[in-house]
C-alpha cells in the first residue's frame, strides 16, 4: 500500500486531496462532513468584507448525456459574518487536527485590512492562508480578486503586505484570465509567497436560453460573466500548471493544483506536472463528498502498480516531457492500423479522415458493412481516426520511423531537407 499523505510546506494531510475554496467549504457543518468522509484538507471559502449574493448563481455546460462538463458561477466570497466563520474554523481545526485547514482571504485593498485579516485567521489555529487573486466575477469590479492577479505589480504589492504579517504558510492563488500566469506567478514568488495554487475560474458565458434569449444564470432577465470550472477547464489548467513548473522562478515554490479535477487520474496528471496537492470543487459539488473514497483508492492502486511508494516519487515527473515544438523529432513517424477483427464498420474513422484530415482511409463498399483500411503512404499519423474510433484498441498507431536519428525542425531546415510535394 502506497503512502498518499502530503506535506505541503509543513501543512500535513493524510492525502493530497483538498476541497477548494467554494460553497462546500463555507461552513462548519460541511467541512466536518467532508473530513468525516475522508478529505485531506480544505481551503475555507474566501473571507473578506461581508458581501450579499444574488439569486440564480450557477450554470453549466452539458455535453450529450453528460451533465456539468463545465460549471460556471457568479457567487461572490463568503456572505456569512466574519466572526462566525472564524469561530467555526477554530472548531474544525480542533476537531480534526490531522487535516489541512487553509483559509482563503480577499481583504480590501490596503495594508491594514490585510494585516487585520491575517491576524484574525492565524488566531483560529488555521495552518495556512490562500490569497484569492483570481475571482473573475463581481469582486474584480471592486478592484479585488482577478483585478489583483491580472496585474503583477499590484499582486506583488499585496503579497509584500501579507508577508510582513503572516507567520503561517501563504499560498497565492492565480487567475487564468491572463495571457500567461507566469508574470504574476514570478512577481508573487519574488514578493515572498510560500506557494502557488492554480487555476482559479475562467471568465465565461456558458450559454443562452434560446426561449428567453437571456444567458445563464438568469438573474431577473440579466446575467453577468461568471467563473468557469469543471472537467472542461482541465486541459487549460494543466497547461498553465506546466508553465509554472517549468519557469525557474515560479518552480521554486510548491503548487496546489486546481482545475476540473474529478477523478484520481486527473489528480495524478496534475501531480505529474508538478502539483503537490490538488484541490477539488465541481466534482464534489456535483456528486458530494463521497467521491473522496475513489480518489484515494484509485491513486493508491495506481501508485502501487507503478511502484511509487510516496507521492513525492512521481510529483513533477512529466514536466520535462513537454518541450518546445521545435525540439520534437521529425523522424518519428506513426501510421494508423485498423484491426479488422475489432472493426464494427461505423465509418467514423473514414469520414473524420476524409473530411477532417488527410484522406488516408480507403472505403470499400459492402452490404451493409463497409470495409475501411488505411492508405499507409497517405497517413500522416495525426491520431484523428484513433480518437474518434468507438472501439477500444481497434486502431493502433504503429511506429514507422522516417530515419534512425533524432532530427528536429531547426536541423531539418539547416540541412535543406525536402518539404511535402502534395
Amino acid at each position: 500500500m502506497a503512502d498518499i499523505s502530503a506535506n505541503f510546506l509543513g501543512i500535513k494531510s493524510p492525502n493530497p486531496f483538498w476541497l477548494a475554496s467554494a460553497p462546500p467549504t463555507d461552513k462548519k457543518i460541511n467541512v466536518l462532513r467532508a473530513f468525516e468522509a475522508g478529505w485531506g484538507g480544505v481551503v475555507w471559502k474566501t473571507l473578506g468584507t461581508q458581501i450579499k449574493n444574488v439569486s440564480s448563481r450557477y450554470s453549466a455546460l452539458d455535453y450529450n448525456n453528460t451533465r456539468v462538463m463545465g460549471f460556471n458561477n457568479i457567487e461572490l466570497i463568503s456572505d456569512r459574518p466574519l466572526e462566525l466563520n472564524l469561530r467555526e474554523i477554530r472548531e474544525c481545526v480542533r476537531l480534526f487536527p490531522d487535516r489541512a485547514m487553509v483559509v482563503s482571504l480577499m481583504a480590501d485593498n490596503d495594508r491594514d485590512s490585510w494585516h487585520e485579516m491575517i491576524a484574525k485567521v492565524e488566531d483560529t489555529g488555521a495552518h495556512g492562508i490562500e490569497l484569492n487573486f483570481g475571482c473573475p466575477h463581481g469582486m474584480n469590479e471592486r478592484g479585488m480578486g482577478s483585478a489583483v492577479g491580472q496585474d503583477p505589480e499590484i499582486a506583488r504589492m499585496v503579497v509584500e503586505w501579507v508577508m510582513e504579517k503572516a507567520t503561517i504558510p501563504v499560498i497565492t492563488k492565480l487567475t487564468p484570465n491572463v495571457h500567461s500566469v507566469v508574470p504574476t506567478g514570478k512577481a508573487v514568488v519574488q514578493a515572498g509567497t510560500n506557494a502557488l495554487s492554480l487555476i482559479n475560474t475562467i471568465q465565461s458565458v456558458t450559454g443562452i436560453d434560446l426561449d428567453t434569449l437571456v444567458p445563464n444564470p438568469n438573474v431577473g432577465g440579466h446575467s453577468a460573466f461568471g467563473g468557469y470550472c469543471g472537467p472542461a477547464v482541465k486541459p487549460i489548467a494543466l497547461k498553465m500548471l506546466t508553465t509554472i513548473s517549468q519557469d525557474p522562478v515560479t518552480s521554486r515554490v510548491p503548487v496546489s493544483g486546481i482545475g476540473g479535477i474529478s477523478t484520481w487520474k486527473d489528480a495524478a496528471e496534475f501531480m505529474l506536472l508538478g502539483a503537490t496537492t490538488v484541490q477539488v470543487c465541481t466534482a464534489a459539488m456535483k456528486h458530494g463528498f463521497r467521491i473522496i473514497e475513489d480518489l484515494c483508492e484509485g491513486l493508491n492502486n495506481w501508485m502501487d502498480e507503478k511502484g511509487f511508494a510516496t507521492i513525492y516519487d512521481f510529483i513533477g515527473k512529466s514536466v520535462n516531457t513537454i518541450t518546445k515544438w521545435e525540439e520534437l523529432d521529425i523522424n518519428y513517424h506513426i501510421i494508423a492500423h485498423i484491426n479488422q477483427d475489432k472493426c464494427i464498420h461505423c465509418g467514423l474513422c473514414y469520414i473524420a479522415c476524409e473530411d477532417g484530415s488527410h484522406q488516408a482511409i480507403n472505403l470499400s463498399y459492402g452490404e451493409p458493412y463497409n470495409t475501411y483500411t488505411v492508405k499507409d503512404e497517405e497517413c500522416v499519423g495525426c491520431n484523428l481516426c484513433k480518437l474518434v474510433c468507438p472501439v477500444e484498441d481497434c486502431i493502433s498507431m504503429d511506429e514507422h520511423r522516417k530515419g534512425a536519428e533524432y532530427l528536429n525542425w531547426q536541423e531539418y531546415q539547416k540541412r535543406g531537407l525536402p518539404l511535402n510535394d502534395h
Partner: protein
C-alpha cells in the same frame, strides 16, 4: 369446448391489447438512447431500411432537440414512418444491422426513437411538407394501403392531384386491417392516414372496389396515370380434408375482424391450432390467446432455423404462452356435427434444401392428433389472380408484372407493393409507392401530357 366471443371484460381486453412496445416516457429517456448513437458514416441501418431512412441524421436531430427536423427526415423517406416504427421487424432490418450488435451491446432502439419523433409530428399535426403548385395532372391510385398512400404523398407534393380508390371503409391497408392490435391501434392508423392526406391534393374514395365499383379501363381514360397498390388478400388454402368445418378460419379474416369489429365481437375457441409460422401466424396466435383462448398451439412444418417470422416475434408468442409443434404438418381436420374437434398432423423431418434455399420438410410415418375446437390457417396469402386476369394485366401466378419503371403491361398503369412482390413488409410497400410515384412523374413529363 366451444368457440365464443366476449370472453373478457373491457378492462381485460384493454390490458391484453395494450401497446407491446411502449414509447419513451419522456425526452430525457429518448436522449439517453439518441446520444448513444454513434452517427455512423454510410450507416448500415440506412442500407438495411427498404426506404433508406437517414437514421443517424434523424437520431442526431432528436439529440439536438430538433424533433421537427427529425420527423421530416423520417417522413421524407417514409411517410408511414410512424406506423413502421410500430410494426417493422426492425430486428432483421435497421436495428439488426446496428454496429452495436458487433460490439455485443444492445443496438440503438431505432424504432422507438422513430416513434418518438413521428408521434409528436402526427399528434401535433406538424405541417412538414408543402405541395408544389398544381400541374393540372390527375393520377388514380387503387388501394389506400402503404404503397398507395406513399405513392399519393410523393405525387401530391409534386403538384399532382391524386384520387385514391379504396375498397374498405378506412385507409391504411394491412396496417389498419392486418396487424396485431397490440402493435398498432385503429385510432393511430386513422390518425396516420389523416396526417398523410392533410398535405392536400389527395382524395380518398372509400368502398370503391376494383372490378366491382370501378374498372381499370375507365380510370385509364379519366386519369393521366393509374397506380395499382391493391395488395394481396386471399388466404392460401391448406387443401386438406375438413377445411370447410365450422371453426376453421383464415388468419387474415380473423385479424381483420379483430381490427374492424372490436375485441368482444370476435369469437375464439378454447383450444386453438394456428397453422404456419409467418408474421401473420404469430399475430393470429398471440391475439387468439389474448382474446381468451385457453390453449394455442402453433403447428409448423419445419424448424426454428427455417421459420419465416423473426426471433423477436416468436418470443412474443412464447411469452403469451403459445405452444409450438415443430416439424408438424396438418393432414386433416376432423369434426363433430360439422364443428372442428381434432387436427391430425404428420411428423416431418428435414430433407434437402428446396427452391427457397431452406431445408424442405419430408414426411415420416409418425402422426399425432391435437384436440382443438378452432383452426386458424396462416399459411400465407395469395394475390388476386382472377382480378388481375380480368383486367388483362400481365402477371405471374397473380403477381402483377412490372418493368424497371414500375410500369405494368397496360399503358399508363403502374403498380407496386404486395400485389407485385406477393407480400412483404409495410416498409417495402412504402418504398414501392415511392418508386411508382417517381416513375409516374417521369412518365407524365416524358409523355408530354
Amino acid at each position: 369446448m366451444a368457440i365464443v366471443n366476449n370472453r373478457l371484460t373491457a378492462e381485460e381486453y384493454a390490458a391484453q391489447f395494450r401497446d407491446i412496445h411502449p414509447p419513451f416516457e419522456n425526452r430525457e429517456a429518448a436522449l439517453v438512447e439518441a446520444n448513444r448513437c454513434l452517427f455512423c458514416y454510410d450507416a448500415p441501418c440506412i442500407k438495411s431500411c427498404p426506404t433508406g431512412i437517414n437514421v443517424p441524421k434523424f437520431i442526431k436531430q432528436i439529440a439536438t432537440d430538433n424533433v421537427k427536423g427529425s420527423a421530416h427526415t423520417i417522413f421524407i423517406s417514409n411517410i408511414m414512418g410512424g406506423g413502421c416504427s410500430k410494426v417493422c421487424p426492425v430486428e432483421k432490418l435497421c436495428e439488426g444491422s446496428c454496429v452495436y450488435n458487433l460490439l455485443h451491446e444492445p443496438p440503438i432502439p431505432i424504432a422507438k426513437l422513430q416513434r418518438y419523433a413521428t408521434e409528436k409530428a402526427i399528434s401535433g399535426q406538424w405541417k412538414l411538407f408543402e405541395r408544389k403548385a398544381s400541374r393540372g395532372k390527375k393520377v388514380a391510385i387503387i388501394g389506400a394501403g402503404p404503397a398507395g398512400l406513399s405513392c399519393a404523398h410523393v405525387l401530391s407534393r409534386e403538384g399532382i392531384d391524386v384520387t385514391i380508390f379504396e375498397k374498405e371503409s378506412k385507409g391504411g391497408g394491412l396496417m389498419t386491417y392486418g396487424i396485431a392490435a397490440y402493435k398498432v391501434t385503429p385510432e393511430f392508423c386513422e390518425e396516420e392516414v389523416n396526417y398523410i392526406t392533410s398535405l392536400g391534393g389527395i382524395e380518398i374514395r372509400y368502398q370503391q372496389e376494383l372490378g366491382k365499383d370501378i374498372s381499370l379501363s375507365s380510370l385509364q381514360q379519366q386519369y393521366d396515370a393509374v397506380f395499382l397498390g391493391i395488395g394481396v388478400g386471399l388466404a392460401r388454402q391448406l387443401n386438406i380434408p375438413g377445411e370447410e368445418l365450422e371453426g376453421v378460419v383464415d388468419a387474415i379474416s380473423f385479424i381483420y375482424d379483430i381490427r374492424s369489429k372490436g375485441y368482444p365481437a370476435v369469437a375464439v375457441g378454447d383450444k386453438v391450432a394456428v397453422i404456419g409460422l409467418g408474421m401473420t401466424a404469430i399475430d393470429a396466435a398471440t391475439q387468439a390467446k389474448r382474446l381468451g383462448a385457453r390453449e394455442v398451439t402453433i403447428v409448423y412444418r419445419r424448424t426454428q432455423d427455417e421459420m419465416p417470422c423473426t426471433e423477436a416475434e416468436l418470443d412474443i408468442a412464447k411469452l403469451d404462452g403459445c405452444r409450438l409443434r415443430w416439424l408438424s404438418a396438418p393432414q386433416a381436420i376432423e369434426g363433430n356435427n360439422g364443428k372442428v374437434s381434432r387436427l391430425l398432423c404428420r411428423v416431418m423431418q428435414l430433407g434437402e434444401p428446396d427452391a427457397s434455399g431452406r431445408r424442405s420438410p419430408v414426411e415420416t410415418a409418425e402422426t399425432f392428433t391435437l384436440e382443438v375446437d378452432m383452426v386458424i390457417k396462416a399459411a400465407g396469402q395469395t394475390p388476386f389472380e382472377t382480378l388481375v386476369n380480368k383486367e388483362q394485366l400481365q402477371h405471374r401466378q397473380g403477381k402483377i408484372s412490372i418493368n424497371e419503371h414500375c410500369a405494368t403491361s397496360l399503358p399508363g398503369v403502374f403498380a407496386g407493393g404486395d400485389c407485385v412482390n406477393g407480400g412483404k413488409e409495410v416498409v417495402d410497400a412504402v418504398q414501392a409507392g415511392k418508386d411508382g410515384a417517381a416513375a409516374i412523374i417521369e412518365y407524365l413529363a416524358g409523355s408530354g401530357q
